[in-house]
Symmetry: C2
């Protein structure tokens, strides 16, 4: 970490935009109006050719880089976004919008219904990756951007990049897909389903009406997050980080006191912290969107056929120890892109951190991003 550039975009403020044009969702339900909250870093050049859209992952948000007034924790991708960093804010104009259906500012289950009567809660319509891409495209119009230099995302964010490439092929020059997949495996869906069941089994969930009742399903949501968090780490990383170290108790013979391992205490803390800050209905909705995504569903289940619609060049990156979005899933994606005649760069980064590696300072990953973004910048004259 010592050599990692420390420069930051510094103090930032989220922006908000109200959209009055109804949004027809993929499920057939119309959202009469909605808010998008987003952040921008850097400056749009005169040619309007240096804009990069970052699509965030499941429980993440628009606060990618920099600091909010009075807060010491930076945005979630501070290590890769900022002046002189891989996503160099001296060259690029970078935008990230919070996805609708979440709970970080854009319209979602905790928002009031349009008639102001009550929060949407469980009545918020199901959203799909495609709906987020449509929202991002609306915001793009408002910002006066005609073509993204690149659209980038990891995990569920990577799925948005892929959907962009098929829905608006001319609107992006590069797609950067990190630790992602063209669709989830059965095992992935199963983890999400257990997480959802932990939420709905919590009696405080009250069929999703907990906001009106003032009963928060924090226990269920904490368990859901513990499951998720556990699958974002690799076995090796956990062995390094926790091993079998004890948090309390002793294994001495003749001791009947409970023994608790560090890893248990850590996960409980992560779960509780998350439950205090995230909305349960949003978690249900977002994991469903993740499960339902299937890039090639409308292309006869043939991803090569799907990528024939795309026009962008791609960078695909996977991490060796990521068992939630395994390298094999990225390789499938790359094969389909190549088969469709796309230009693709692929890097499989040897890193022990599991799925979360994309969030952490991994020098080899940084080098791959920097190399590719040189090309993106050249094309954008950024």
């Amino acid at each position: 970490m010592s050599e990692w550039p420390a420069d930051s975009v510094g103090l930032v403020q989220p922006q908000q935009r109200h959209f009055d044009t109804p949004l027809m969702l993929a499920c057939g339900i119309e959202l009469p109006s909605y808010e998008l909250v987003y952040e921008c870093y850097g400056a749009l050049n005169a040619e309007r050719s240096n804009a990069i859209l970052i699509c965030h992952a499941l429980s993440s948000d628009h606060h990618v880089a920099g600091y909010y007034e009075g807060e010491s924790k930076p945005g979630w991708w501070e290590v890769y976004v900022g002046p002189g960093k891989a996503f160099d804010t001296n060259r690029f104009y970078i935008i990230c919008a919070n996805n609708i259906g979440g709970c970080s500012g854009s319209t979602g289950p905790t928002s009031q219904k349009p008639d102001g009567s009550e929060p949407y809660g469980p009545d918020f319509p199901p959203v799909r990756v495609r709906d987020w891409v449509h929202c991002q495209q609306q915001l793009m119009d408002v910002l006066g951007i005609e073509q993204w230099a690149a659209v980038v995302g990891s995990s569920l964010g990577g799925m948005q990049v892929l959907r962009w490439a098929l829905e608006y092929p001319e609107a992006m020059r590069h797609g950067i897909v990190l630790a992602s997949a063209m669709k989830l495996t059965a095992q992935n869906i199963a983890f999400n389903e257990i997480a959802r069941r932990a939420i709905t089994a919590d009696p405080d969930f009250t069929n999703g009406r907990y906001l009106e009742r003032g009963t928060m399903p924090n226990k269920g949501l904490a368990i859901a997050r513990m499951i998720g968090h556990l699958t974002y780490m690799s076995d090796d990383l956990m062995a390094l980080k926790f091993g079998r170290d004890l948090y309390e108790g002793s294994f001495e013979r003749g001791q009947a006191t409970d023994v608790r391992f560090q890893v248990e205490s850590y996960l409980r803390h992560q779960g509780d912290k998350f439950a205090d800050s995230f909305d349960a209905n949003s978690y249900l909705l977002l994991t469903r969107a993740l499960d339902y995504f299937d890039l090639a569903r409308e292309y006869n289940d043939d991803p090569m056929q799907a990528f024939k619609r795309a026009q962008a060049e791609f960078l695909v990156v996977s991490f060796s120890s990521d068992w939630r979005f395994a390298p094999a899933r990225s390789r499938e994606m790359v094969r389909a892109m190549l088969g469709a005649g796309r230009r693709v760069s692929y890097a499989e980064i040897n890193a022990p951190q599991g799925h979360d590696a994309f969030l952490l300072p991994v020098p080899r990953f940084d080098a791959v991003l920097r190399g590719y973004l040189q090309r993106v910048a050249a094309g954008a004259r950024a």
Copy 2:
């Protein structure tokens, strides 16, 4: 399956034995008396040299093979135990006892306290692998067996085999350790902890007093089992078995109905079925015993030093797709055994079924067992 020997030990009945001698547990608490329920197949030879002890895994029990009157489902290891099968009941006298702390007949949290006042419930003392081995040794005495031809177990059962080899080195000629480990990894502990938290977060758990109150924490226990069951299967097996097949709903555009995948429905069913038949306090207790086991803890964390106490020969088997008890854990074990001068055979079976492979008909596994048991039989003149 078609060529798998269909012969069975047929109708069987469990046996019960009451022990009045107090059992001093590793935690320092004394169990004043206890029951063991067990099953036997085959016949003890005149030399009393052909007895094999099977140690069962976490949520399993003493019903290894054959059928109960009026039931169509055989014991859990019917594929490997019976006349002409790998554990050939024509040659061996095979015994399996239900572990105390469980809920299948031997004394555990659902048993009445010795004063008959109420069930033990959460007051049942913590048990460790060592306690089970002591109970099995008591039963061995009762049955008039001085030395096991082999002690065999998979997963948590394999840990019992290892403990046997250190506690009673002269009482066994062979140890057969399947899909097991010398201790759990942090990741394993974490899965168990999330399962436990799902149970204790269920308000019907009522601090473990649900039996008296008649409120069963079935929702929590079902989630706990779903987590366990999921980790016993490999990603590949789940892809084969379920893929992204739908149970209900449709992905057609303009459809807001919920979509449920087959894998979700399957796991929910498994969870609910388990919750109807297993005790929540037992599940907490047994997963703790699994987490706490650490073969070499009393040997300066040096497994080689531990195995120097052992006298048995070993067969160790792992399965390529088992990510809960990965082959790497078995290889560590084998290295320590060899370093201690033990005779060891090791087989890493290429099988897609994950941890549960040891329960399923896997021809290569069957062949390995048969080969090794020839040697066991030769030594037992069975």
